[in-house]
Symmetry: C2
Subunit: 239 residues, 2 copies
DNA sequence: CAACATTTGTGCGTATGTATT
DNA sequence: GAATACATACGCACAAATGTT
């Protein structure tokens, strides 16, 4: 391996491996050669190859598995539409064969500063919190924490557990329709909880949405913070 | 350092340093202690500390500088509104003291498959491409590549260079108003170009928007792919 | 200006642990 | 169980950047 001036060896190697992957050199096996082989091929120490592979893993291009090797990752994304009538289940609907919504936990709690501000409640007023995980074709697709004013939406947790969908649960509570008022989107690195819940690798990207839904009269109804694995989801806003 | 079963040492150390940072232990200097000091404090090898710091750097919490140390990063985000009338300059407007738009390069070229589809042109029809960098208060805020149908928008490159804003440039070409038809949002790890253009570190997150603007008659006018540093920007969609 | 100490960056060698085949 | 392959951790050495003397 020739040393380019000023560019670390492991970076050069990462670039070359990335190029080989996109060029399809490893398509036969779908795997990158073993670290020892790469080290020999490039004439560097195995640690140097590991630095390169770590960078690629962090980019989500490859995924190393202890004892098996380093696999090349290829997956396409779900498109999640964001509009005035945003519905999770309908939105993803046709893109997956199988959708499920799991209620992880729920509870009644006093509204935090953030939740109170969004739902236009006083701080400390009771809200119902739902923690839900949504899966598409068996793979985690989102992790939502959502809050409802407690008095108006008593029983929403039971309804959600039964129906597996917020929209359906709200129907059961007599809410025929609702609107998405505002959505905030940001992106961060996966935190330990995300790694666990969304089956991500540390360093993966999580898209975070903060959404406020109102009833047809414009009264705040639901505030939801949802975390999506960025390698499996993208958003579409149609105006 | 006690070894927890099944959790790598460097992860435990990363968690402890992160906790110390959020707790404000290092606020006096705004820096993390030197690697050798941390290694001694935790009773581990310097490489182990480096793994931990690398993870934190990758999360954007710290930033290491050769010869100086590892600084704690603290910054807040610009909010970029996405709506039917989305205008970059107006959108960021009040949030920055100083906004500038730089034309990096421009040219006339045949429409690629992607560009042609979005602009509803035939593949190969001439389009004008603009590469622009936007800065807020001297810091790169976005990197846009945008395409216009060549015949209708002849001279847009000159106009943009003069005005530093797409909206103003379009005004000069007689386009008083336009609408955002659709916006796609995804998030990826920074690529080498992003690192250079947006002054990011490798491993940072880039928010990518793909937007189609039409004129008031709904005719596709501009297709833009914009890359934002995720640590400096978030999006708001108001329905 | 030069010399020096400090601090992070890179790379190699070695050893051991752990998961998979 | 044995072989293979990735994961973690330590130790050493030197390079490169920075700040100080």
């Amino acid at each position: 391996m020739e040393r380019q001036k000023g560019v670390a060896l492991w970076r050069q190697i990462a670039d070359r491996i990335r190029a080989s992957i996109t060029q399809g050199d490893y398509d036969a096996t779908g795997m990158v050669p073993a670290e020892t082989q790469l080290a020999a091929a490039f004439g560097v120490n195995r640690h140097t190859v590991r630095s390169a592979l770590a960078a690629l893993a962090q980019e989500g291009i490859v995924r190393a598995a202890q004892g098996r090797g380093t696999m090349i990752v290829r997956r396409d994304k779900f498109t999640f539409p964001i509009a005035r009538r945003t519905r999770f289940t309908e939105g993803i609907g046709a893109q997956a064969r199988d959708l499920e919504g799991l209620l992880l936990s729920s509870g009644r709690e006093p509204a935090s500063e953030d939740v109170a501000r969004r739902l236009k409640l006083a701080i400390g007023e009771p809200v119902i919190r739902l923690d839900a995980l949504r899966k598409a074709d068996g793979r985690p697709l989102s992790r939502t924490t959502t809050w409802f004013p407690a008095e108006r939406f008593h029983g929403i947790d039971v309804a959600f557990r039964r129906r597996g969908s917020i929209t359906c649960a709200l129907e059961d509570l007599g809410v025929a329709d609702y609107l998405r008022e505002v959505t905030e989107i940001s992106a961060i690195h996966a935190e330990p909880d995300d790694v666990a819940d969304l089956a991500l690798t540390p360093g993966a990207i999580v898209l975070v949405t903060r959404a406020l839904n109102t009833d047809m009269d414009g009264i705040p109804m639901q505030y939801a913070v949802t975390r999506f694995p960025a390698d499996r989801v993208e958003f579409t806003i149609t105006n």
